[in-house]
């Protein structure tokens, strides 16, 4: 396999020829999303529509078509996910304050008889976690996290004690610190790059997987607060 197949000196002409249509698509999608936001009257709809706008952003970044661009898509994805998470939470909190139903509100429990909810979760979750662990990094974290999320969403007994919650969140914070250590090793002691690589890859993996898994707990709407 020749070096030019491995890494060319210039970006291939196909990608260059796709650049303009891709950018136009991105701009168009962004434009449609923005127009929709500008005439919607409902905050929840605005939240959903911002999703479209950020898809436009992903296209704009992807259109560059290099490995660097791919590395830059991941932050974009993560930012989108993170902001939707935080903002939807704020929206709910605002509405609950407005309604003044903070305590009385009892969400409907999950009560269905779906066959798939009895058999599938364990199986799918195990596959996804193993596959995610093999992938490691952000990708693996997201995939394994998706598995955990699904499992938690459909299987967990009612009510999660807050200590468990804090424990899992703490573990993921520690994993994040591992990643910082890995990052520093890369520059302080370049000869140990392999160690740094593994620290970084699995630090991020554990962190993202746990966080995403906890989103599943949020999805259950139930939460048992410990006595303080």
């Amino acid at each position: 396999m020749t070096a030019s197949v491995l890494v060319p000196t210039v970006v291939s002409p196909e990608v260059v020829s796709l650049y303009i249509p891709a950018i136009f698509t991105g701009l168009l999608v962004g434009l449609i999303g923005l127009l929709a936001i500008s005439y919607q009257k409902n905050d929840l709809h605005a939240l959903i529509l911002t999703d479209i706008v950020s898809l436009g952003m992903l296209i704009l970044v992807a259109a560059v078509g290099t490995d660097l661009a791919e590395a830059l898509i991941l932050p974009g994805l993560v930012v989108e996910l993170a902001e939707i998470l935080a903002i939807s939470e704020i929206l709910m909190s605002r509405e609950m304050r407005k309604m003044d139903k903070t305590v009385e509100l009892i969400p409907l429990p999950l009560s269905f008889n779906m066959e798939i909810l009895d058999t599938a979760p364990t199986f799918l979750a195990i596959i996804l976690i193993i596959y995610g662990a093999f992938l490691s990094g952000f990708t693996g974290g997201a995939i394994a996290g998706g598995g955990i999320l699904f499992y938690v969403l459909s299987k967990m007994t009612r009510g999660v004690p807050s200590n468990t919650w804090e424990g899992v969140a703490g573990a993921s914070a520690i994993a994040w610190c591992l990643w910082i250590v890995g990052f520093l090793i890369f520059f302080v002691a370049p000869s140990y790059w392999l160690l740094a690589l593994f620290l970084a890859a699995f630090g991020i993996f554990i962190k993202v997987a746990f966080k995403v898994g906890l989103i599943g707990v949020i999805g259950r709407e139930e939460f048992k607060k410990d006595k303080e």
Binding site: M1, S4, V5, L6, V7, P8, V10, V11, E14, Y19, I23, G30, L31, L34, L35, S38, L68, E70, A71, L74, P75, V79, A82, A86, S88, E89, M92, S93, M96, R97, L105, F134, L135, G137, F138, T139, W165, S172, A173, W176, W179, F183, F186, W193, L194, A196, L197, F198, A200, A201, I204, K207, V208, K211, I218, E221, E222, F223, K224, K227
Partner: protein
């Protein structure tokens, strides 16, 4: 005083996202007129799409050469002088990954997203600081969401 009323309505929070999206939309519209230029001398270029997979490369589409732990792969970083073991991560494959690559032709993505590989090099080494930030963005968003959820929005069983 019409101007005054317009100014007042601009100070209402609910109208601001709409205003922002209209302004941004107008700017995006100009994007259709501006002549687009693409510089094909990019950092970290990649081969033509589907080229590696067509050549039956088990590591497609991320094969960038190099021998694990011995020879660095080929990368075109911005500042090679600041990355001493440049290309080593790109060339690295974990033992499991080597095993997988010997069995099948179509698992290149998994192989290269397991520890080692080009994207890992960019994400963790040459642009590692970005990854710190993006993971902290996720973490902060999660901290916010979980705090709000735990304190306000989720149902609490007071037992």
């Amino acid at each position: 005083m019409k101007l005054g009323r317009i100014w007042n309505s601009l100070a209402t929070p609910k109208n601001i996202p709409k205003l922002f999206s209209i302004i941004l939309g107008l700017v995006l519209l100009t994007g259709f007129i501006v002549p687009l230029t693409y510089n094909d001398h990019q950092l970290y270029p990649r081969p033509t799409p589907q080229l590696q997979i067509s050549e039956k490369d088990p590591l497609a589409p991320y094969n960038r050469g190099g021998i694990p732990l011995e020879e660095p792969g080929i990368v075109k970083a911005q500042y090679p002088q600041f990355a001493l073991s440049e290309g080593m991560v790109t060339g690295y494959l974990s033992p499991i990954a080597i095993g997988v690559s010997n069995t099948t032709l179509y698992f290149g993505t998994s192989i290269y997203s397991s520890p080692g590989g080009l994207i890992d090099e960019i994400l963790y080494y040459s642009r590692g600081f970005d990854t710190i930030l993006e993971s902290s963005i996720l973490m902060m968003a999660f901290v916010i969401a979980s705090w709000v959820a735990l304190h306000f929005t989720m149902r609490r069983k007071e037992e």
